[in-house]
């Protein structure tokens, strides 16, 4: 039962993410990315991490993808089929992609798998997660929140540029 769920969710996840990359219409890409998010959230639920799953949906599907969709609708980007691609950009893109792939394989090959240990615990529940974040990882957590704050302030300043110049 659990294995079947895992494999079907993974299949949906992989297939929809591939469609997301290869589909020409940006609107459909966004929607398939959405399906990917949902299947990932489903995988979280199978790991007994409902909190993570629902936060994943709220943050990614509910906020970030809405903004993506928003921008696509505003710019009407679904009609732009091909971007200008110079040789340099193509080479740079290939190189970056390979680098990401390399990093991922390196990190995954050094990782150890112990799915039973994860599934058995309530590590994804809100209380456990909160305890872990505010005890063991307090400083990284606060640093990342300051990073977000600085990003927000940066955006505001970019938009206020004209006002400052006057």
């Amino acid at each position: 039962m659990a294995a079947a769920l895992f494999y079907s969710l993974s299949l949906i996840c992989i297939v929809s993410s591939l469609i997301m990359i290869f589909h020409k219409n940006t609107m459909y890409s966004v929607l398939f990315l959405l399906i990917t998010f949902f299947s990932v959230a489903g995988l979280y639920v199978t790991l007994n991490a409902q909190f993570l799953a629902i936060v994943h949906i709220i943050v990614y599907a509910g906020a970030i993808m809405v903004l993506f969709l928003y921008v696509i609708m505003f710019l009407n980007m679904s009609h732009i089929v091909s971007f200008q691609k110079s040789k340099v950009i193509k080479i740079a893109a290939t190189f970056t992609g390979l680098m990401v792939f390399l990093v991922l394989t390196a990190s995954l090959s050094s990782a150890t798998y112990n799915s039973n240990a994860v599934a058995g615990q309530d590590i994804g529940l809100a209380s456990t997660l909160g305890r872990v974040i505010f005890n063991d990882f307090l400083i990284p957590f606060e640093v990342s929140s300051i990073l977000f704050l600085s990003a927000m302030v940066g955006v505001v300043i970019f938009n206020k540029k004209d006002v400052i110049d006057e």
Partner: protein
């Protein structure tokens, strides 16, 4: 097995009740509008117009179903479907009454008591905007796209303040489960309602609920004077019906959430006295009735406000959301935290 049967039954009953109440909300809306304008309202279909929702529904079904030539057919159909589905999904985590002891097993009048119920509601609410956005975009119409852009902006902006005001409630309850939130509001006389401890939070939540359900004074996504019909300009027949209907279902669910988060859900004064003197089934029925009465009051309140306050301008809407409600809700959260620390 019996539990599953009970839950399936509960789902069906909830589904029907949601639809019934939403259908009669359309009738109530017209009646309330009429009464507040010194008119009588629909009264031709059946006695005092009680069959009006049926007539409206029938009309919607019989209308010609038009899909514009340059619209994206699949997404055009998907839009209202998502709207309706997300509207109906939310009621799963709302506790409609206290636990029952039936045939030796304890059953709760709640479809799923998941421990993150309130987050589930936030998640589903945030997905509701997709129905509007996809439908508006797929219509291939400038008015529709403007309406859906307004809808998404508005919903994202007000979700923040809404989430923050809920955080304060979560802090006082110490749980993300709605059934625990409701049962913690029992207090000494069944009056330990959160609205007395979180008046500011309640106010913020209420305003945000209006914005999230696209009700006046925040009905900019479909404002007729500027955008014809907003995101549903191109829609006709039952697809339009789904959009209009999902608004009423949303209103019903929002009222249920307000009632259970801030007005004690099924709790009422002198609850223990009633519990001791009546049978268990009767008590559950009374509790559910009280909860429904609270919900219906808020549904009425939604309509009451609609016929009182005019629509916001878009920049005013954004100002209110970002510059007033968000700071206020953060302040509310800080004050709540301060008092919790003081009590410890």
């Amino acid at each position: 097995m019996e539990l599953i049967l009970f839950k399936v039954g509960l789902v069906v009953v909830l589904f029907l009740i949601s639809l019934l109440i939403a259908a009669y909300s359309t009738y109530a809306e017209r009646k309330v509008a009429a009464f507040m304008q010194d008119r009588i309202g629909p009264n031709r279909a059946g006695p005092i117009g009680i069959l009006q929702p049926l007539a409206d529904g029938l009309k919607m079904f019989m209308k010609e179903d038009i899909i514009p030539q340059n619209a994206n057919r699949f997404l055009f159909i998907l839009g209202p479907a998502i709207s309706m589905a997300t509207a109906l999904m939310t009621s799963a985590v709302i506790p409609w009454g206290p636990d029952l002891n039936l045939f030796g097993t304890t059953v709760s009048l709640q479809v799923a008591d998941i421990n993150i119920g309130i987050l589930y509601i936030m998640g589903v609410l945030s997905l509701g905007v997709y129905g509007i956005m996809i439908g508006g975009w797929a219509s291939n119409n400038k008015y529709s796209i403007l309406g859906s852009i307004r809808a998404s902006t508005q919903m994202i902006s007000y979700e923040l303040a809404m989430g923050m005001s809920i955080v304060a409630v979560i802090m006082t309850t110490g749980s993300l489960s709605i059934s625990q939130m409701v049962s913690s509001q029992e207090g000494s006389f069944g009056m330990g309602w959160n609205v007395f401890y979180q008046p500011l939070g309640f106010l913020i939540f209420l305003v945000c609920a209006f914005a999230e359900t696209n009700r006046t004074p925040f009905d900019l996504p479909e404002c007729e004077t500027e955008l014809v019909g907003g995101y549903h300009t191109e829609y006709s027949s039952m697809k339009l019906g789904f959009y209009l209907f999902s608004e009423y279902v949303n209103m019903f669910i929002s009222s249920a959430i307000i009632a259970s988060l801030f007005f004690g859900g099924y709790n009422f004064p002198y609850m223990q006295v009633v519990q001791e003197n009546t049978s268990q089934i009767l008590f559950a029925v009374i509790c559910t009735g009280v909860f429904l009465a609270k919900i219906l009051f808020f549904v009425f309140f939604f309509m009451w406000v609609r016929w009182t306050i005019p629509r916001f301008r878009f920049d005013q809407l954004m100002d209110l959301g970002w510059k007033v409600l968000l700071p206020l809700s953060i302040l509310n959260m800080l004050i709540t935290g301060f008092f919790i620390l003081l009590n410890n």
